[in-house]
């Protein structure tokens, strides 16, 4: 597998080179995934270990990030909506913000920032120790062995984590609004159920899955192309995290707009 970048041609040329290589890597991974499934060669052990690892490292920070976020949403919405004469829409906004936007984004930040950086460090260290090359020599393709299980694990964990984040976020928002700000729990739950839809949840899950794929692909790509000593691995992790964050933010806007164009908004005024 040749992922070495061609000689530098200035910043624009470099960026195009990298983008092309990343695209080629994505195509190769898809093909490898097809082969793995067709020949029933999926490394279940690797998949299980990666899923367990990702879930173990991302769950606690995701919950710790979600609770303050739920409080911030409740804080800003609860009183501002009241001043606009829209009391009781707190639940609707929470459904809007946490289910559709915050849950997939927090998952993406956790999977790419916490899980992806560890994946990238692991693969990067193996690459500079030439373990990956050794595997290839023994006829075990690195993409099939390393990348496919990691992408699948990221999708699994990311979709499950999104559900957890939604539950915790709505719970934190509800608790804060009712217990601290003293708003009516009935109107919160009423507008929450009136304005939230199954489609919102499903699209959030699709988003979480897409973000998982992006994060895992970028981390594996940067890890497998790491070069030069300990500094090289650190540098690869840095680039992987930045690239994954930017890609995820852009993908979020694109997916949200696609969804809004396909499914019209609902709600009684």
């Amino acid at each position: 597998m040749n992922l070495a970048a061609p000689p530098a041609r200035g910043p624009v040329g470099d960026a195009l080179n990298q983008a092309g290589l990343l695209l080629a890597f994505a195509v190769r991974t898809t093909a490898a995934a097809g082969r793995v499934v067709a020949r029933r060669r999926l490394s279940w052990r690797e998949l299980l270990e990666q899923t367990w690892f990702l879930a173990a490292v991302t769950t606690t920070p995701a919950v710790l990030v979600t609770i303050p976020l739920g409080v911030v949403v409740a804080l800003n919405v609860g009183s501002l909506a009241g001043q606009l004469g829209a009391e009781g829409y707190g639940g609707a906004v929470v459904a809007f913000v946490i289910v559709a936007q915050a849950a997939p984004l927090i998952c993406a930040l956790m999977i790419s920032g916490v899980g992806g950086s560890a994946m990238c460090a692991d693969l990067g260290a193996r690459t500079i120790r030439e373990e990956v090359d050794a595997l290839e020599v023994m006829g075990i393709p690195a993409v099939e062995r390393f990348v496919v299980p990691r992408v699948l694990a990221a999708v699994l964990v990311s979709t499950a984590l999104a559900c957890l984040v939604m539950a915790v976020g709505i719970g934190a928002s509800f608790t804060f609004q009712v217990a601290v700000l003293g708003d009516s729990p009935g109107s919160f739950l009423g507008s929450l159920t009136e304005f939230s839809r199954l489609e919102d949840f499903l699209v959030a899950e699709v988003k979480a899955a897409v973000f998982g794929v992006l994060a895992a692909l970028v981390s594996c790509f940067k890890g497998l192309t790491a070069k030069g000593g300990p500094g090289g691995v650190g540098h690869a992790v840095n680039e992987a995290v930045v690239l994954a964050f930017v890609l995820v933010f852009v993908a979020n806007t694109v997916l949200t707009e696609l969804y809004a164009a396909i499914v019209p908004a609902r709600g009684a005024y």
């Binding site: 910043p11 470099d14 960026a15 990298q18 490292v57 920070p61 710790l64 990030v65 303050p68 976020l69 911030v72 804080l75 800003n76 609860g78 009183s79 501002l80 001043q83 829209a86 609707a92 809007f96 913000v97 936007q101 930040l109 956790m110 920032g113 916490v114 899980g115 992806g116 950086s117 560890a118 990238c120 460090a121 692991d122 260290a125 500079i128 000593g229 300990p230 500094g231 090289g232 691995v233 650190g234 540098h235 690869a236 992790v237 840095n238 680039e239 995290v241 930045v242 690239l243 964050f245 930017v246 933010f249 852009v250 979020n252 806007t253 949200t256 707009e257 809004a260 908004a265 005024y269």
Partner: protein, 282 residues
């Protein structure tokens, strides 16, 4: 993987807790020492501070990784705020208030989104960069070499970086804030077709200088915390090349959690439990 015995002795069960507290203490004393050495570092190593300012703002500008920190902060703020504009318009339309979308840009962008998103961009780009640099120096014994040459490694490496982060976060954050205002207005006015006058009316009505100042304060606090956390993880990195990468991930996790928790506390401190809309006299 080694097989684990089913019985766990209480001493072993308590081990992670004790280790966790020990780690917390190490990091806390590290932060204290970094801050204490700040004045001497700025006076003695001001050339290095300036060099780090350049590194932070424009350094290692591969275009795909965002073209320097300015590019990353600009891009992430702009994209996130486009989202605020589009979603906010959709949400307010449900209750028939879509002309007031300008209000969202003035309030939500200034108070929450811009500082948090810029800080996440900063943590990803600058923070993990610091961890990678310091971790690589620690692994290849360069930090010990500095100490051997009687250069105090902590002020020389970490305090200078903290001073540089403080200097560069102000212009960087203002770029991010402008990008978020511009992106929201672009999304609402040009994509959703709201009239520019209506948008600007609500935007200017609710945008107050004190809000912008508080928002900048938030960003500065976040940047300083991020620098401290990421430098600590890099400074104490162990375990070869892989350890450096893992330290970067752990640092990012800690700093993202710290930023969101601090965000709530600062929001309550600045605007109280029941924030008011400045322009509506309520």
């Amino acid at each position: 993987m080694t097989a684990r015995s089913l019985t766990v002795s209480p001493a072993r069960a308590l081990r992670p807790v004790v280790d966790g507290f020990a780690g917390l203490g190490t990091h806390a004393t590290f932060y204290g020492r970094v801050v204490r050495h700040l004045p001497t570092a700025v006076v003695r190593y001001w050339r290095h501070v300036l060099r780090h300012v350049g590194d932070i703002s424009f350094g290692s500008a591969s275009l795909l990784a965002g073209g320097g920190t300015i590019g990353v902060v600009f891009a992430m703020s702009a994209v996130a705020s486009t989202q605020i504009g589009l979603e906010g318009h959709r949400g307010l339309e449900l209750i028939g208030l879509s002309p007031m979308t300008g209000l969202l840009s003035a309030l939500v962008n200034t108070r929450e989104i811009a500082p948090v998103v810029a800080s996440i961009a900063l943590a990803a780009k600058v923070g993990t960069g610091f961890t990678a640099q310091l971790g690589a120096m620690r692994i290849s014994d360069e930090i010990d070499a500095l100490e051997t040459m009687a250069v105090p490694s902590l002020p020389f490496l970490v305090s200078t970086r903290m001073a540089a982060a403080f200097l560069s976060v102000i212009p960087l954050y203002l770029v991010g804030l402008v990008a978020s205002y511009a992106a929201t207005s672009l999304a609402v006015v040009h994509l959703k077709g709201l009239s520019a006058g209506t948008y600007d009316y609500w935007f200017h009505l609710l945008l107050t200088p004190s809000d912008v100042l508080f928002s900048l304060l938030k960003a500065i606090v976040f940047a300083l915390v991020i620098t401290l956390v990421h430098c600590a993880y890099g400074y104490y990195a162990t375990g070869g090349p892989e350890g450096v990468g893992k330290a970067a991930g752990r640092a990012l996790r800690t700093s993202i959690v710290a930023v969101t928790v601090l965000d709530v506390l600062l929001t309550i401190a600045f605007w109280g439990l029941r924030p008011t809309l400045p322009g509506l006299g309520a």
